[in-house]
Subunit: 244 residues, 2 copies
């Protein structure tokens, strides 16, 4: 765990670190609270410090006093170039443009990436929970779009995760992983998602093995998740990680 930067701004401490070749960011309350920890997965083409990630993390830290950690996914952000992934990504793009089924191709790609990220994110949890100002409190997961595709196998595999917000993803490849998830899930769908067919999103919601799962669907496209859903995310995590 190699720290490269440590700053405080507006009540939020931000530490940049890498674990092997995985660049990560950790946000904690400036005054340590040792409450829950949220691991977030970013969207495709984004990275650990994309504006939406920063904004959501600040809400979790400032409104709730929690810690948030994000790792760059393979082929994203500050990760070193990976010829294998780049080749697969370029190939995927070409096949999508050639008219092959987007959902199936994407699902296969997520499966490939998740085979790597599940282990990486477990190591990130190990490392971050060993820090005094984070500790081993309850863990939640947040991830939509690519963060859902990679999050479903992660949440299924990692027993430290006690509640998960997932969404903007479909069931094409993930239904088997989804069926093994038993923790509460809040699932976000965009009703007019131009990338995930509605039936595919509903199929993933349907597939979660959890006794408690709630679907939140709003009008709008893939990138138009309403800001008020962050309030619902905070309330959900509070119920399961703090009061639960």
């Amino acid at each position: 765990m190699h720290f490269s930067d440590d700053t405080v701004s507006g009540g939020v401490r931000e530490q940049l670190f890498s674990l092997g070749d995985v660049p990560c960011v950790l946000w904690t309350p400036a005054t340590p609270a040792a409450g829950p920890l949220i691991l977030m997965g970013h969207g495709g083409g984004q990275h650990k410090k994309a504006p939406g990630m920063v904004a959501r993390a600040r809400r979790f830290v400032l409104d709730a006093g929690w810690s948030v950690v994000v790792a760059d996914a393979p082929g994203h952000g500050d990760r070193p170039t990976d010829e294998h992934f780049d080749r697969r990504a370029t190939e995927l793009q070409a096949r999508v443009e050639a008219g092959e089924d987007f959902a199936l191709l994407m699902a296969g790609f997520h499966e490939l990436v998740a085979a790597r990220t599940v282990g990486e994110w477990r190591s990130v949890l190990d490392a971050v929970q060993a820090l005094d100002h984070v500790g081993t409190g309850p863990v939640g997961y947040f991830g939509v779009s690519l963060g859902c595709g990679l999050g479903v196998p992660f949440v299924a595999a990692e027993p430290r995760v006690r509640a998960a917000v997932l969404g903007l993803g479909g069931g094409a490849a993930n239904t088997e992983h989804a069926a093994r998830i038993s923790v509460p899930v809040q699932f976000l769908m965009q009703w007019d998602d131009e990338r995930i067919p509605r039936a595919d999103g509903l199929a993933l919601f349907e597939a979660f093995g959890s006794a408690e799962k709630t679907l939140h669907a709003n009008p709008g496209k893939h990138g138009e998740l309403p800001r008020f859903e962050v309030d619902a995310n905070v309330a959900f995590f509070r119920r399961h990680l703090v009061e639960g």
Copy 2:
């Protein structure tokens, strides 16, 4: 407006009154706050003071400081016997047992009842808003099941309602009314509802004309709406009636 009872218990003032032959209950904070007013519609076979109505009203009054008013629907609670409605209800029951389409029959019955309740509920709003300890603040509507069947035409017709929680209802008869609704809607569905086919519930969500509408779907049957949805209702009304 004839008051028959006025009591205070645990911070909540309860006033029973009737308006013509419509028995109503008004709950307000023991210390008047003159904030938003929520008009609630009760479920079929229930009444204005059914346990679920009382519990939800107490949350609105105690957690948020709002006022809540409920009227007994025709054929329910303390309403005088109405041979016309009783005959239609008995006839409906017989046709359901004979295998006719439940959703269509129910929709027709709701239409019949709503032709009466829309006007009744407007008069209830007039009367209650004239009270000093309620006043003319923003109005919200809450109603599921029968409260949705009657609520959709009411919310469509009544401009004082600025936000509505609806649910456990289908689109069979209400899509035309639903299309005329433009205020924010939070729509509650039970994913395994044995009375409302899933496609019928989704069709009603689809039909709302509102730019902001959110579907909340949870596993479980018609009567198993999770208690945590009340928190989501409070957050929704707060956003639109207090902060909006």
